[in-house]
């Protein structure tokens, strides 16, 4: 519940650059465009669930539908 964990979030659509200010510096963002749909994959560390839900609702606010949220594992500390 309140452990730091690495999350991988996939959503449909492309990222607006200005949105990066919400993210910590060590997040990676990858945008795949296979000509049928643009999928953005965001990977990084969230410090707890409040931060994760905050991040997801920001995605909701900018209108990027969520495709998948996956916890890749908790990190020590």
């Amino acid at each position: 519940m309140h452990e730091t964990a690495v999350y991988c979030i996939r959503c449909q659509g492309a990222f607006d650059e200005s949105w990066l200010q919400h993210l910590d510096a060590d997040w990676t963002i990858q945008c795949n465009d296979d000509h049928t749909a643009v999928i953005t994959t965001i990977t990084g560390v969230v410090c707890d669930q409040a931060a994760l839900i905050g991040l997801l609702s920001s995605l909701y606010d900018v209108g990027l539908p969520l495709l998948q949220v996956e916890c890749l594992g908790t990190t020590a500390g």
């Binding site: 309140h2 200010q21 919400h22 707890d48 669930q49 409040a50 839900i53």
Partner: protein, 904 residues
């Protein structure tokens, strides 16, 4: 403030047994060095209690607390709470007064204006303030988030922000702040209760010492989650083998621990308590008598209902709130006196979910809301009552509540509240209630959107005709509705120049409306007065005005505002500038004391008008210039008039750039505020100003293509007809003079019929100029004399000066014939002062220097060399100079400077 509940603006009180947490308090103390503190964790982690404890232990911190509810997710409501909370912290200074007046504006200003005003207000706090927003995650509205984002981005030095939230907020640069340690965070991991703390809490909740094994088990199960621990503690009560009980938790791991715990806790409650908890969960805030109203005096076992679970026979009285709070059932006291409480939000959510699952059906739950609504309505908590009533589906009671209170709120001038109440109702409900349709008409009037009003009134009328008396509330209610319609129609008829009809409506409204309906009755009285005046009955109107002003009831602020408005309208129309000045000064004092922008701006316009005509241009400028800052709060008419006044003033001072800019701003504003009906007046005014700077072509173009403004009673600036006459005179052909003569006849007829001295002065002065142009000197002098005689009591100076040198000639001749010599010499003094403007007032020394070099034909580069400045600097000076002179190039600048005697 009405919608506010004071208990929302202070932190909830801590439970007597609250365990203080020094480690976290120290963490928060460190946060004061940063400007933003975030307490972010899921529900039930003790966030609010921690903040409340911190504040209690740091009494020296100036704080403003807001407990947010889901109903506060509305920009207007949120900002009202925010500004009120700040004012509670600084009651003397009231730093957010300006933002509050914006919230009361008839049309919402753009979000950016609100945001900037708020940030600006908050930048002027007397000293550091900690602003705490509890349950910040409930504010999901994009508009609120934008305001908060801007506030965080431009956080004033004197503001510290503490956000308590279940979800990380979408604020700008949060990640960067975190990285740069400009943000203090207290998160779930920090809030988690360690084993020792957990044991203390469990023992405290259970009432007996809890052994260590049990504490460790429960701490692991709940992950140090305080509300879970408390629930666990509650369910431990009366268990003989605590550890064995705690182990059963593990076996039930499949289920949500929260539901399980709640089941356990509720299962141990006596039926009366259980029923009380579930039923009162519909309330956001509880006090004893509200609970009694909702739950009923006696437990439901004694009521004839079959809802009681079999085998349970409750006895005795209702549980009391303080008992429940003492039993640790998540009830928090909200005030010193122990009157108001609220459930822990998470506990309440669980209870509500349970309530819906229990044997109570939707009808019974609706009945709870209905009873809550009835109690809240009776206590004057109208908005909370409306929400409960509407949740209960009891639209009729909600409607009646609004209808019953509408005049009281209209009288208080709190239109935004009525507007929000109306907005809570479905449109089809409004459409079948005459009183609500008419209330909507009042709201439209407030927003200066008159066009749909007649249809609404018509609809109300036909509904009333169809319905039997009982539905519309009987004959008294019918009379009041009739009075309201007549008052609204009186105003509309008046501005359509149908004064007789306006008078009839106004009188009928006065007959139908009780005198203590200050606003509606006052509106009728106002338009009775104005209609009388415009029917030529000046004596009667003045008599009526005196009676009205002496009325004992006139101490009511809304009524006094209407009376003073009426006085100003009449005095300006009959050319009594001295009385108009008195009214303006009185209103200004009153408006400033009451923080009423409507009053302030009318006062400033009245004073601007008086001082302009008395040629006290600096005073006029000071008053008119104050109006644009209140653009959204003012009546648009006031803003419009003051802006036209300012444009004219700049023109008199020869600053044509400013003149143009002022009119452009006005045009933009009327587009933005959807007040395009003012556009023809602005266009006519542009033509009038064009004439003043000798640009007849532009003015003529307006007469050929521009829309003619509607003829207006009273003393508004732009009477398009008179400007048209001026243009025709400037054209100077026999045909144009003939047309001017015809137009003047019609203007004169209107001015005489409406006993409008202000208009008559202008008509006679223009008649004089026309006769002069037609070579009829005697007639010209006679007309000029009429104008002078009419204008002398008011002391108008500028009105004549605007008419140009021909007028000065006529005045001089009159003076030579001993007509009003002292007055005329005052007017002529303004003429000669205007003729030789002081160049220093307009242009800087450097600009005059460059002007002289331009006259010599030097190029910018040569000028730059001679003055030892850069070419760019010269160009900049040129631009400024052109703007001030209202010209487009160097040749025009030199020519203009010559006519102004700035250059030889």
């Amino acid at each position: 403030m009405g919608i506010l509940i004071d208990t929302k603006l202070r932190p909830p009180r801590l439970h007597p047994g609250y365990t203080t947490r020094p480690r976290l308090l120290a963490q928060l103390d460190r946060g004061l060095a940063q400007d933003l503190i975030l307490i972010s964790a899921p529900a039930g982690y003790g966030k609010t209690s921690l903040a409340a404890d911190w504040l209690q232990q740091r009494p020296a911190l100036t704080r403003a607390w807001i407990s947010l509810d889901k109903d506060d997710n509305d920009l207007d409501v949120f900002l009202r709470y925010l500004t009120t909370a700040v004012h509670n912290a600084f009651p003397q200074q009231r730093p957010c007064a300006h933002t509050q007046t914006l919230l009361n504006a008839p049309q919402s200003p753009p979000l950016e204006t609100i945001t900037n005003t708020l940030i600006n207000d908050l930048a002027h706090l007397p000293h550091t303030l900690l602003l705490i927003l509890d349950d910040y995650h409930l504010l999901t509205l994009p508009a609120i988030q934008q305001v908060m984002a801007a506030l965080v981005r431009h956080l004033p030095d004197t503001l510290r922000l503490l956000l308590i939230t279940r979800i990380d907020p979408a604020l700008p640069l949060l990640a960067r702040r975190r990285a740069q340690q400009q943000l203090l965070e207290v998160r779930a991991a920090d809030l988690r209760f360690a084993q020792a703390e957990a044991r203390a809490v469990l023992s405290q909740t259970t009432g007996v010492e809890v052994d260590e094994v049990t504490a460790v088990l429960l701490e692991e199960q709940t992950e140090g989650w305080i509300i879970g621990l408390q629930l666990a503690g509650l369910s431990l009560r009366g268990q003989t083998d605590q550890a064995a009980y705690a182990r059963t938790f593990q076996e039930r791991n499949q289920r949500l621990i929260m539901d399980f715990l709640l089941d356990e806790v509720l299962a141990h409650q006596p039926p009366a308590v259980l029923e009380f908890l579930l039923k009162t969960a519909v309330l956001e805030r509880l006090c004893h008598s509200l609970c009694v109203a909702v739950v009923g005096e006696k437990p439901s076992g004694e009521q004839p209902s079959g809802e009681q679970p079999a085998g349970e026979q409750p006895a005795g009285e209702r549980p009391r709130l303080d008992d429940i709070a003492r039993a640790g059932l998540f009830l928090t006291s909200l005030d010193e006196t122990g009157t108001w409480y609220r459930y822990h939000p998470l506990f309440r959510e669980l209870l509500l979910r349970r309530l819906a699952q229990e044997e109570w059906g939707p009808a019974e739950i609706a009945a709870l809301h209905g009873r809550a609504g009835a109690w809240l309505a009776a206590q004057g908590f109208t908005e909370a009552a409306l929400r409960h009533l509407l949740t209960a589906g009891d639209v009729d009671t909600a409607v009646t509540l609004i209808e019953d209170r509408r005049h009281e709120i209209l009288d208080q001038g709190e239109m935004h509240r009525l507007n929000r109440w109306l907005g809570l109702l479905p449109q089809e409900v409004v459409a079948r209630r005459p009183a609500l349709l008419q209330l909507e008409a009042w709201m439209l009037r407030w927003q200066a959107r008159f066009q749909p009003i007649p249809t609404l009134l018509q609809q109300a009328e036909s509904l009333l005709a169809q319905e039997p008396d009982s539905v519309a509330g009987g004959s008294v209610a019918r009379a009041i509705l009739q009075g309201e319609r007549d008052a609204l129609r009186a105003e509309m008829a008046f501005f359509q120049n149908e004064f007789q009809r306006a008078l009839t409506y106004a009188q009928s409204a006065l007959d139908h409306l009780p005198r203590h309906y200050f606003f509606a009755h006052g509106m009728a009285a106002l338009f009775q007065l104005l209609a009388q005046q415009s029917l030529g009955q000046t004596e009667a109107a003045l008599r009526q005005l005196t009676i009205w002003l002496d009325d004992e009831q006139s101490q009511h602020p809304t009524l006094r505002y209407l009376q003073l408005l009426g006085a100003g309208a009449i005095y300006g129309t009959i050319g009594d500038l001295k009385r108009l000045e008195q009214v303006g000064q009185y209103m200004l004092k009153l408006g400033l004391a009451e923080e009423k922008p409507l009053t302030i701006t009318w006062a400033q316009h009245f004073l601007g008008h008086v001082y302009y005509h008395w040629n006290r241009l600096d005073d006029a400028c000071a008053h008119w210039s104050a109006v644009p800052a209140w653009r959204y709060q003012a009546n648009f008419r006031t803003y419009h008039e003051a802006m036209l006044g300012l444009a004219l003033l700049h023109q008199c001072q020869g600053d044509e750039g400013q003149t143009r800019q002022t009119l452009d701003t006005l045009t933009q504003a009327l587009l933005e505020m959807k007040q395009v009906q003012f556009a023809p007046e602005v266009e006519a005014f542009r033509a009038r100003l064009a004439l003043l700077r000798g640009d007849v072509g532009t003015a003529v173009h307006w007469t050929q293509t521009g829309a003619q403004p509607i003829r207006q009673p009273l003393w508004f600036w732009e009477a398009g007809e008179l400007t048209r006459v001026k243009v025709l005179l400037a054209q100077g052909t026999a045909v144009s003079r003939q047309e001017a003569a015809a137009l003047l006849d019609s203007c004169q007829q209107y001015a005489e019929a409406t006993a409008n001295v202000w208009r008559r002065i202008q008509v006679w002065a223009l008649r004089a100029l026309l006769a002069q142009a037609q070579n009829r000197p005697d007639e010209a002098l006679a007309a000029a004399e009429r104008a002078v005689r009419l204008a002398e009591p008011g002391g108008y100076l500028r009105l004549f000066v605007e008419l140009g040198p021909e007028m000065a000639g006529l005045l001089a001749q009159l003076s030579a014939r001993n007509v009003a010599t002292a007055y005329i010499s005052d007017i002529l003094a303004v003429y000669s002062a205007d003729q030789s403007p002081n160049p220093d007032d307009l242009l800087t020394d450097r600009e005059l220097e460059i002007l002289a070099l331009l006259q010599q034909g030097l190029a910018d580069k040569e000028i730059a060399e001679q003055l030892v400045v850069s070419v760019l600097t010269v160009k900049k000076h040129n631009r400024n100079m052109y703007r001030k002179l209202g010209v487009n190039g160097r040749r025009q600048a030199v020519a203009k400077a010559k006519t102004l005697n700035f250059l030889p």
